[in-house]
Amino acid sequence: MDAAPSHRTDNTQSGTPLLELSNITKEFPGCLANDQISFRIMPGEVHALLGENGAGKSTLVKIIYGVLKADEGRIAWLGKDVSIAGPSSARHMGIGMVFQHFSLFDSLTVLENIALAATDERDRTKLRDKVLEVSHSYGLPLDPDRHVHSLSVGERQRIEIVRCLLQNPKLLILDEPTSVLTPQEVERLFETLRQLAAEGCAILYISHKLEEVKALCETATILRGGKVVADCDPRVETARSMAEMMIGEKLQAPNRAGRDGESIHRLVVSHLSLQSEDQFGTDLDDVSFSVSSGEILGIAGIAGNGQTELMAVLTGESVVPDNMDAIVIDEQPIAHKGPKTRRSLGAAFVPEERNGHGAVPSMPLTENALLTAFRRMGLVRRGIIDGGKTRDFAEDIISQFDVRTSGSGSDAGSLSGGNLQKFVVGREIIQRPNVLVICQPTWGVDAGAASAIHQALLDLAANGAAVLVISQDLDEIFAICDRVAVISEGRLSDTRGIKSVTVDEIGLLMGGLHDLAGSDGTGQDAPALAEAGHD
């Protein structure tokens, strides 16, 4: 299916642009989100909007979709200046948008969810026929009568897309649509999008995944710091050249140092089952794996397959009272113990959410440093906080991990996502843990900070710690992990050496094919696999 991008290049050369933005500027307090942004989209064009988190992509598309108002600048639709009053007028003009976070009601059926948004078709039977017709002709299979809570994330996204397509859009905006999909689902989505483009619907594709943009898009506008820094043709650029345009500096590939010395199992999880505390959560079902000193184990998987529950049970936020051997840190069974005991054994944890979980946004960095480190770093004596020592420790983190801030007294909430993540990761790493469990280490983090964090994790492992990375980002897993397992519906696949596994295989496991690795002839027992996966 390479037909679509190649045969319509001439579209971009002439004619009236479908959408033309000139000098769009939007300022938030203390942040110029969009600075004089101009670009145009032709009918039938697949246009990528590239940029790091915080580059201003979301603000820009919210302006196009009428959610936000620009402070300055003009928007022209089919050659005429327009003012987009709100999302509903954007839809009437022919702009559809699929948000990164879906707005669906779990307890309603697919058809009911669509009916809620499709304002111009009141007759339920006719709507049903339309839904079936659209879903059939675009290869988006959907059962209108299923309840949303029983659907996978990929299927939920289809509802959103079908909902947009019912309005016959001339422009379809997709915000990071593939972050929740398996590689196979991504390929199917691309086929649908190419078909749409071939029929003349323009697509504005927002992403930071460069290989996808190369595969799908014919033009790309690259944003950095709220400004357009380049317009390019992704098909002739390399992923690396686009990445460098995005971050504005040379990209450093993570440097893997060789390990030496014998490796010991530092974190062993065996037959861990746990019912989720959350009604819509995922139960963990017989999860087993082990992480040895000096290695990084990656756990891949689509969000909502038990990662939250696994993370909570590893940090000690939820405990397994009746099976203390389910989690063993340095030969100590601790599944029944809380975070304090685990940390005292040398474990450290970085949760996915920085704000309010890994850090307290309304407290200064000094107190955030104190939060997890007061015992291990001896910052508290007889119940009294040693203010000077705490400040020194916070300043250590700031300087060693290059955290950009006005000082250790500033509130954690005033830091950008990437800087706060560097601070949180740094806080855990400086404590020299034996075991580090980290969830989504570079989620919402700019590429510069991401590569610094990756390097820090590799260095920590090289110094003999066992590192567990739970991530949805396959690129990240392939970049830093030694072995990988996939979590799906609360079950963990066997662990595989990273060099002996392909993205496609991981993708199939992410989609729920639990037995693939087993049928492959690899061993079942996690500790045995640990050796098998090493070299």
């Binding site: 942040c31 108002k69 620009a70 402070d71 600048g73 005429k80 000690g316 940390r343 307290v360 007061f374």
Partner: protein, 359 residues
């Protein structure tokens, strides 16, 4: 057009300015109310807020009223920091007064110098016991402490009423619902000759210092603050939320209990059906007006004490109804909460300039 614009970081200056702003607005509103009541607003304002402070006796009375407010307010402020909403300090105050006062009545002919210290300890224990009930209900059954502590207040008040009307009534008191007068050994020493200002004021100051030390320097204070603003982070680090709930409720109950026993062994000197003009409830306003900070609570306690004192003076001097004190207290809290929006938002006046975007 007036718009509210979110601030990037909460305003440090506004945290200290909003209580002052709230007080100014309260005074303006007060003048309007005085005018409607047919009084000269300036004279009324003078009588309410300045006249009570013009004599030494007035100043000592201010301290007498501020003493329980500050003591209770410190405990409540620490609880509120941890999102523990103890609304029942009035009940804990009463139970403290009963526990300490009961001891004084049991030893009504004692001259032992240890009586008063023991009464203070009993007062603390009485208040703690009463606060332990909501603490247990919350940690065991997740029962909302706002409701349980508030309801227990009425139980405590009725219990006091029962005791002074019945078993603890002064046998030589002509059937008035009052207990015996406490013995000298069970009475708070006064600090200024001829005034009612008593040793409890020193205890209140100690509570301020102790509260500040705990919140600013101690690990447990840090834990309380983290639980308050980021309970998920507290769980991630392993702070024991239940233990903190117990700690902060017992601390608040204990301080309210000491305030209660100080009151009955100080200015009152016996148990009577009404031992508090709502100190336990007013202390909630004190805690917020003081920004949940111990030093702030000290100043806020003095300000709220003035509303009581001013109410009495205004009643005597210009015949304003006694309810005015309660109205002032309510208005202060109202304006304070309203002004707090300025911590997170700034006011922008004028139309936003926008170019283009229009068809």
């Amino acid at each position: 057009m007036i718009r509210l614009e979110p601030r990037k970081q909460h305003s440090e200056a506004m945290i200290y300015l909003t209580p002052v702003l709230a007080l100014v607005l309260t005074m303006i509103t007060g003048m309007i109310i005085f005018a409607f009541l047919g009084k000269d607003p300036l004279v009324a304002l003078y009588t309410y807020f300045v006249l009570p402070l013009s004599t030494t006796y007035g100043l000592t009375e201010l301290v007498v009223k501020a003493t329980p407010l500050v003591m209770i307010g410190i405990g409540l402020a620490m609880g509120f920091r941890a999102n523990v909403w103890n609304i029942g300090a009035e009940g804990q105050f009463t139970m403290g007064a009963l526990a300490g006062g009961g001891l004084a009545l049991a030893f009504h002919d004692s001259e032992n110098a240890l009586l008063l210290p023991t009464m203070i300890v009993f007062g603390a224990l009485g208040g703690m016991a009463w606060a332990a009930i909501p603490a247990w209900l919350k940690t065991r059954f997740n029962a909302n402490e706002i409701l349980t502590s508030l309801m227990l207040t009425y139980v405590a008040l009725l219990f006091l009423s029962y005791l002074v009307h019945g078993p603890w009534r002064d046998p030589a008191g002509y059937n008035f619902p009052e207990s015996r007068i406490f013995p000298d050994a069970g009475t708070m020493p006064t600090l200024v000759e001829g005034s009612r200002m008593h040793f409890g004021a020193i205890l209140a100051l100690l509570a301020v210092v102790g509260g500040w030390l705990i919140l600013a320097k101690a690990l447990i204070g840090f834990q309380l603050r983290v639980v308050g603003v980021a309970p998920v982070a507290a769980r991630y680090v392993g702070f024991k939320e239940k233990r903190l709930i117990w700690f902060v409720l017992l601390l608040g109950g204990g301080l309210a209990g000491v305030a209660g026993v100080s009151e009955v062994s100080g200015p009152i000197g016996q148990l009577i059906p009404t031992i508090s003009p709502g100190y336990g409830f007013t202390a909630i306003i004190v805690a917020f007006l003081g920004r949940l900070h111990p030093v702030g609570v000290l100043f806020a306690g003095l300000v709220m004490a003035l509303t009581y004192l001013g109410g009495e003076t205004a009643q005597i001097e210009i015949g304003l109804p006694a309810a005015v004190a309660g109205i002032f207290q309510g208005i202060i809290l109202f304006f304070l909460l309203a002004c707090d929006v300025l911590n997170l938002y700034r006011i922008r006046i004028g139309w936003r300039v926008r170019h283009g975007g229009a068809a």
